[in-house]
Symmetry: C2
Subunit: 217 residues, 2 copies
């Protein structure tokens, strides 16, 4: 079996991205968004993810500029935080996730909210100009919109790709329709998740396509 499959990471990436570009309709995306979408398709193993992508034209530039200025990346889940490849980050940027803080569980219990919502509230001191990466919980995205509306503190960009059957589609439509006018990159509907979110962040952080990827293979 040893000779029956590609065994070097760079060959696998090159062939993967060739297949994705051949099979995916990327025409409507600016070049920088297109690179992120290719990686998101790669992470999902599904070319039709591209059809559900919604974005503001400046989102990749805004997020990349923020990262190059040292912005923090605020994540809703540990899997998102883990998947972000540190060596792709231009300024050794902080990758922050509060979901496992003991205080978060206490606040969630007391206020009858999700742990995610309590964790998002803790983003506030680092939220101005940050890159938000939501790949799990719809309530994170709903809460973020509430916090921005209530405080006027604004992230540079929102990678908003929560997944699921309760609130996921609605939270992403709320971001798209929001009068706050945030820069965003989302996958509409129920689909989403930490892998696609990580893929988008890693694509935005560095233009290097074939190395140091979130796939780790």
């Amino acid at each position: 079996m040893a000779d029956a499959y590609l065994q070097t990471g760079s060959e696998i990436y090159e062939e993967s991205f060739r297949i994705i570009r051949a099979e995916t309709n990327l025409e409507r995306f600016p070049a920088d968004v297109s690179r992120a979408v290719v990686r998101m398709v790669h992470a999902a193993g599904a070319t039709d993810i591209a059809d559900d992508v919604a974005f503001t034209p400046g989102v990749v530039a805004a997020a990349n500029t923020a990262l190059r200025a040292g912005a923090a990346i605020l994540c809703d889940s540990s899997m998102v935080a883990t998947g972000i490849i540190r060596s792709r980050l231009p300024r050794d940027n902080d990758v922050i996730c509060h979901i496992k803080d003991p205080e978060v569980a206490r606040v969630a219990e007391r206020e009858k909210i999700t742990k995610t919502m309590a964790a998002v509230d803790l983003w506030l001191p680092r939220l101005e100009g940050a890159v938000v990466a939501i790949g799990n919980a719809p309530t994170a995205l709903f809460r973020l919109l509430e916090v921005v509306a209530a405080t006027g503190v604004r992230p540079a960009a929102v990678i908003g790709i929560p997944v699921g059957f309760v609130g996921a589609a609605e939270s992403k439509e709320a971001l798209i329709d929001s009068p706050l006018g945030l820069d965003y990159l989302v996958v509409r509907g129920r689909r989403g998740g930490s892998a696609m979110t990580v893929a988008a962040v890693n694509a935005i952080a560095s233009t290097d396509e074939l190395t140091n990827t979130s796939r780790q293979d």
Copy 2:
């Protein structure tokens, strides 16, 4: 907006699983496999994942029995290892992932193989009776089959859900068609990923449906 969405984790789970069971064709699955598939659908945000699931009837029982006996969980990626909820594990089982070991990068470079393959080779001392959780790299699954064939050392069960465009579908078919006769749970085709893999492991580890979940919300 505060009253417009469900804000407690248990309510969200209950409603999510109700929707999934209403919309997903689960008839062909034994009860224990069905519980895992519901969680995998939940993680993917896509009910048609269930149509691509292939399994051996004893896979969930084999994996659960192994975990209750203290088996290690061998993971191909850091995201998979991170997503496994420790509090669901019956014996404080070891969750092992070698992908970031410096030695793995050196071996991969020297032998012109993927880092994943080099990392899988390091599983061998813990492989007998282990639960394997592959959620990222097709080369991990190909290599596992080679290692088992070469050594006769056998894991208790293989959760084999790598994702992608090069080798993912083929690696899963190789597991299904393998004369080794391993117990397996896979999602055929290109789709897969760390989130679905974690969801399967968390479902297998504990029958508790509404708490301590991989969704963390």
